[in-house]
Symmetry: C2
DNA sequence: GCCCATTGACTACATCCGTAATCGATGCGA
DNA sequence: TCGCATCGATTACGGATGTAGTCAATGGGC
């Protein structure tokens, strides 16, 4: 069971999931679009992610190339499942109902959901 | 914009959402099913929730009766929306696709989802 | 009227999190 | 070869969180 990824760490993970491997500087540059962090901050987050075995690093000369050890899909699956369990008693439909009520469902979403359901019934 | 509810605080909130108002003792008893907390711990959590204006208390003799100020639906809506935004770029269908892939969709869910979609298309 | 049980308030303290400065090693340019 | 820029590692520090002990007030039983 993978360790918890904090909010700030997740921003770093997104950068690494987008492209890997990357140096600390690469990550810092990429993250700069979202957050106004110093390079040091990004390095600390990378260290913590390493300590949690969520990413790994390969030496390249005197720097490191960082890469995720956890697939984004796996993480997303875990978080989604956790939410559904925590707040909806494990049932998915109340979640969708909830989102529908918030008008979070686009026309595209609706079409895709229908396709998903059709696929499941076969 | 409501303040953040921590994991432990959420357990207390669930108890209060289930029945309200309740005394600290009531909440503690109810929470005992899930967590092995001392009464003091529950009281601290109640205090913090009060400080965040997430619950309120009415005096009843020398004790307080606590009640939620935030509806469960509102909280759940916020969390669901946040998840969808953070992990799925605001799109709902990839979330459902994800859950479907994890076999988290029961037959009932599928039927209910179809009903929801049907309702939306009208 | 007095003591005790109960209650909320205050305090405590370790850990995690966000954010960063500083340190020590090291390779590159002059 | 020597200083500087660069890199990761270590340390820092305030705020949030999880968990709980202790204190002061107070109301009820005797």
């Amino acid at each position: 069971m993978t360790e918890k990824i904090s909010e700030a760490e997740l921003v770093v993970m997104e950068a690494l999931w987008e492209t890997a491997p990357q140096t600390a500087n690469d990550v810092s540059d990429r993250v700069a679009a979202d957050r106004d962090w110093s390079l040091q901050t990004v390095k600390t987050l990378l260290s913590r992610l390493m300590a949690k075995d969520i990413i790994a690093a390969d030496q390249d000369g005197r720097r490191f190339l960082y890469r995720p050890m956890v697939a984004r899909d796996d993480y997303v699956a875990g978080e989604s499942g956790r939410l559904v369990n925590r707040l909806f008693g494990g049932r998915v439909s109340p979640l969708v109902a909830q989102l529908a009520q918030q008008d979070q469902l686009t026309a595209d979403d609706i079409a895709e959901l229908e396709a998903i359901l059709k696929g499941l019934k076969s």
